[in-house]
């Protein structure tokens, strides 16, 4: 093989890099554009506010799926936030640098890599069967807490570690207890970072399907309490695509999902820009 001149290789490599970058953007635009253009024309107030018929028909709207998703977000958040932020406070502020702390950190990292469906199996064995919550929104929410915990812990811990050491020292020097320092100095300073993590978790709940498919039952009826079965929007897309011919409605539900994810993305972006501006402002 004759070797190419460095300049020609440079040009070829640049061409490849540009093509790959453009492909990535095009793939994204295609997926989002396709789902939105096909889906938005189906979305109407009637579609949003009527219940799906369920079963094999594919008729009806998505009202019960919206309600189930909201229930799920509320319950998951109520359990996940104290647990995740508490764990992050422990790891960032209290944990001694010893083997046990390393073990905890290692398990947070390993847990983050465990597939959703295995959390689903675990939730099915523990919450659905052993604890007799049956297929329910509660069982789904508890499963999601396990799934999202490592993510929230990592982002909240990172936000707390970014608070300058001098602020801790100043508070302690003024006679504050450790907890007062955490609650009144560190938490407010780390709040934007923590909120970003929490919002990304909401995005994760909206997008999640595998572990909910095996713990929430998937009934299309309107949930009446947190012990009802439920079907989130993402799981509804799966049922429509696999069991009915209503691909147009699957695309419409997918369009609602994409809009929600775009909103989540927009908020986190805005928050992190504000955070950066604040950092530059020197507080």
């Amino acid at each position: 093989m004759t070797s190419l001149s460095p300049k020609l290789t440079q040009k070829l490599a640049w061409g490849f890099a540009w093509v790959v970058g453009i492909i990535t953007v095009l793939v994204l635009l295609f997926i989002i554009g396709y789902v939105l253009t096909k889906g938005l024309s189906v979305i109407s107030p009637v579609f949003l506010f009527t219940e799906p018929e369920g079963g094999l028909s594919g008729k009806g709207g998505i009202s019960s799926c919206i309600v189930a998703t909201l229930w799920l977000i509320a319950i998951t958040m109520a359990i996940l936030n104290p647990l995740g932020i508490g764990a992050a406070i422990y790891l960032a502020e209290y944990a001694p640098d010893n083997r046990f702390t390393h073990l905890i950190r290692y398990s947070v990292e390993l847990l983050a890599g465990v597939p959703s469906i295995l959390f689903g199996l675990f939730g099915f064995a523990v919450f659905v069967l052993a604890l007799h919550f049956n297929y329910s929104i509660l069982a789904g929410a508890l499963t999601l807490v396990c799934l999202l915990l490592p993510f929230l812990v990592r982002s909240a811990e990172e936000a707390m570690r970014a608070v300058p050491q001098s602020q801790r020292e100043a508070a302690l020097a003024l006679g504050a207890t450790k907890w007062q320092t955490v609650a009144h100095v560190i938490m407010p300073a780390a709040l934007p970072g923590i909120v970003t993590g929490v919002i990304l978790c909401i995005g994760g709940i909206v997008a999640e399907s595998a572990c909910l498919y095996v713990t929430m039952g998937g009934s299309a009826r309107m949930p009446t309490s947190f012990l009802s079965e439920g079907r989130t929007l993402a799981v509804h897309v799966f049922y429509l695509a696999m069991e009915t011919n209503a691909l147009d409605k699957a695309l419409a539900t997918g369009a609602v999902l994409i809009i929600l994810i775009l909103i989540v993305n927009f908020i986190t972006r805005w928050l992190s820009q504000r955070l950066q501006a604040k950092m530059r402002g020197g507080t």
């Binding site: 093509v19 970058g21 990535t24 890599g113 897309v237």
Partner: protein, 283 residues
């Protein structure tokens, strides 16, 4: 309550929360193992791992075809995704002008957030018919469709970690090489990529772990027949899909065999991610 009491109380509470991630990981391992023991005893580990027949109604529980299905789709997806992702990382870190970089990076971040069912849906509607035309038979639900969808799904993970590690190479390396008269591409090829090698390998390993755990999108485009993935235009089934498709209707030994499927997946993923974490720590 005195502030000293609150201080001591909160110290204990955050400690308990801090241990939660570790406990969840242990519980997941224990429960999945416990639930799969009946099947492992009845069928035997060897017959289960190397059995090619999965006929739950005949009590035949061999998972070899699904194991092969997971591994083949993942490897095929990596063959497609790794060159694109590394190219994209080079594009973002070294080639693209600032504005185009920002757009591309936003696209990569958004790709992470899109729900897996949306990827599956677009794959079903757009990709499968194309593949059906190419192969001339079937519905297009195939190993190839699964691999392409999976490649798009792991692309952002591999891209962003690779980009970070290319950026983390000290500027002096690059400046030194440029000062010696190397072209920009020679610098990337002979200096930056070798220096960022570990980070890129970590990115690929983490992407592999994610690909093997993907469930709903796979169920939607792979056809879910438990046969060996010898033909990329033919259907197959993944370990994850086996669990998702059958768990709701399974009882007794069948249910236990599905947990054993989960156990195989769990061990596979922990193994892959542990290697990833080890490489990452050394990087």
């Amino acid at each position: 309550m005195s502030r000293y009491f609150v201080d001591r109380l909160s110290r204990h509470i955050v400690f308990i929360f801090g241990v939660a991630a570790f406990l969840i990981l242990v519980f997941i391992a224990i429960f999945i193992l416990k639930e799969s023991l009946p099947a492992l005893r009845e069928v035997g580990i060897v017959d289960m791992l190397f059995g090619a027949k999965w006929y739950p109604s005949l009590e035949a529980f061999g998972i070899l075809t699904m194991l092969a299905g997971s591994i083949v789709t993942t490897l095929l997806a990596l063959v497609i995704a790794v060159p694109l992702a590394v190219g994209c990382a080079i594009f973002l870190a070294e080639v693209a002008p600032l504005r185009i970089r920002n757009i591309t990076r936003a696209a990569v971040e958004l790709l992470v957030g899109i729900p897996s069912v949306v990827y599956g849906l677009v794959g079903m509607i757009v990709l499968c018919p194309v593949i059906a035309d190419l192969s001339g038979t079937g519905s297009g639900s195939s190993v190839l469709a699964a691999a392409i969808v999976l490649a798009i799904m792991v692309l952002p993970t591999i891209t962003s970690i690779s980009e970070d590690s290319i950026r983390a190479v000290p500027a002096q390396y690059k400046e030194g090489a440029l000062a010696l008269g190397a072209t920009h591409w020679q610098v990337i090829h002979h200096v930056l990529l070798p220096a960022a090698r570990r980070g890129i390998i970590t990115a690929v390993i983490l992407g592999t772990g994610r690909a093997i755990g993907e469930t709903m999108a796979m169920v939607m485009v792979i056809g879910n027949s438990p046969i060996f993935p010898t033909n990329i235009f033919a259907p197959a089934r993944t370990l994850t899909g086996n669990i998702a498709v059958e768990i709701a209707a399974a009882t007794g030994m069948h249910e236990s065999a599905l947990f054993a499927t989960g156990l195989a997946l769990f061990i596979l993923v922990l193994f892959i991610n542990s290697i990833g974490l080890l490489v990452y720590r050394r990087a």
